[in-house]
Symmetry: C2
DNA sequence: GGTAACATTTTACAAATGTTAAAAAATGAA
DNA sequence: TTCATTTTTTAACATTTGTAAAATGTTACC
C-alpha cells in the first residue's frame, strides 16, 4: 500500500532508503467531499499529499471568501502558517471531492528534517517549487488581463475547469464571478 | 570581516560550526547604484545577501516593467529560476543604491546543501520564508484595495518610501503611477 | 544659475471591473 | 419527476483604474 506511493512524483526524488524511512511515518486517510481538513484558526498537525480528488485553499474576508490555491492528485497540502511558523494563519483547505490522502505528522516530519540530509533537501525543494509557482502567479496578474489568465487556466488546468465551481475559479483568477461570466460569454 | 556577518539575521540560526563552513565560500562585493546584478536572460551563478543598500526585482513586459520585490539590508537576493530550476527566468535585479553584498556561488551552496544537514535546513527555511511572504502578498491583493496596500507599505517599509521612486512602488503595489498619485493626493 | 533628464502630479476621457438584483440554468435530494 | 437549492448568467448602473498628454517638481551636472 505504502510502497506504491513512491510513484507519486513528489516522492520520486527520494532514494529507496529515504523513502522507506519516510514511509514509516506515513498514514493513508480518506475524507468525504466538503471536509475542511485545514482550519485557519488552528495550528494543524499534519502535512498531506493528495492521492486523489481535488481541494482548494481559501481565506475568509469580511464580505467575501477568496480561493487562492487548488490541489490535485500528487500535490502537497498543508497550512503554511502551521508548517512554517507553528502558528495559526489565514488558510482553510476544503476538499471539493472525496479524497484519498497520505499524511505525516509535522512533528515527525520536522524530526526527519533534523536527522536526514536527503529529506531535509526534499523539504527544501517542496518549498522552492511552491515559491516559484506563487511568484509566477503574482507576476502574471500584473502582466495579463483577466481574460488571458482565464485562457491559461483552461489550458494548464483542464481538469479543474471541469470539476470546480466557477465561483471558486473566479476568485482564484482575481475577479468577481460576474466578470468571469462576461469573459466566458465573450468566447461564444 | 566575514565573522561579523554572523550578526546578519539570516545567518543567526546557524551554529558556529556551520557558519564557519559556510563562510569559507563567502565573498564580499560592492556594486554601484544602477548595477543590474541579476539578468532575466542569464543563468546567474551567485546567491547574494544584501549588507547595505536597496535593490529591486523587476520583470519586463511589452509596454511596461513591473517591480515585484524590494530588498533591504539583511535580505537574500537571487534569481529564483537560476537557483531553483537552473534556468533563465523573468527576473532582473537592479541595485537602487550603492550596495555591499555577500555572495556565494550556487554550485558551492548546492554542494553545502548536499553535505550539511544544518545548511540544508537553513536553505529550506529561506525558501519557506520567501514563500509565506509571497503568498501573503497575493492574498492581500484580493482583500485590500490599492489605498490600503499603500498605507500598509508605508508602515511596514518606511525606509523604502523614502528611498525608492514612486513609479517602482506603484508597480509593486499593483497599480499605475497615476493611481498611486491619486491615492496619495487623497490623504492631503 | 541654467539646462537637460527624469519623476511626479494633474486633467480629461476611456475601458475594465465591481455591485446589486433578477432571471435562467444546473444540481441534488426526496 | 418535482421541488428546493445552488450556481451561473445577464442587465443596468456605479466605481475604480487605466491611458495619454500636459504641467509641475526634482535632480544632477556643466
Amino acid at each position: 500500500m505504502i510502497e506504491q506511493l513512491k510513484d507519486i512524483p513528489v516522492f520520486s526524488s527520494l532514494s529507496d532508503n529515504s523513502f522507506h524511512e519516510f514511509s514509516n511515518y506515513m498514514e493513508c486517510v480518506q475524507y468525504p467531499k466538503g471536509t475542511t481538513i485545514i482550519h485557519a484558526d488552528k495550528v494543524e498537525p499534519y502535512f498531506y499529499v493528495l492521492k486523489s480528488g481535488i481541494a482548494r485553499a481559501y481565506s475568509d474576508g469580511e464580505n467575501q471568501q477568496i480561493t487562492f490555491w487548488f490541489g490535485q492528485k500528487g500535490d502537497v497540502l498543508f497550512s503554511f502558517n502551521s508548517y512554517i511558523n507553528n502558528s495559526t494563519g489565514y488558510e482553510n483547505i476544503e476538499l471539493l471531492e472525496n479524497c484519498s490522502l497520505i499524511r505525516i505528522r509535522l512533528t515527525d516530519l520536522f524530526s526527519l528534517y533534523n536527522r536526514h540530509l536527503e529529506i531535509a533537501n526534499w523539504g527544501r525543494k517542496i518549498a522552492e517549487q511552491e515559491l516559484i509557482a506563487t511568484e509566477r502567479r503574482l507576476i502574471d496578474r500584473a502582466f495579463k488581463g483577466a481574460a488571458e489568465r482565464y485562457q491559461e487556466f483552461i489550458t494548464q488546468s483542464p481538469e479543474l475547469i471541469k470539476r470546480v465551481a466557477l465561483k471558486h475559479i473566479a476568485s482564484y483568477l482575481g475577479v468577481t464571478q460576474v466578470t468571469l461570466s462576461r469573459i466566458r460569454a465573450s468566447y461564444k
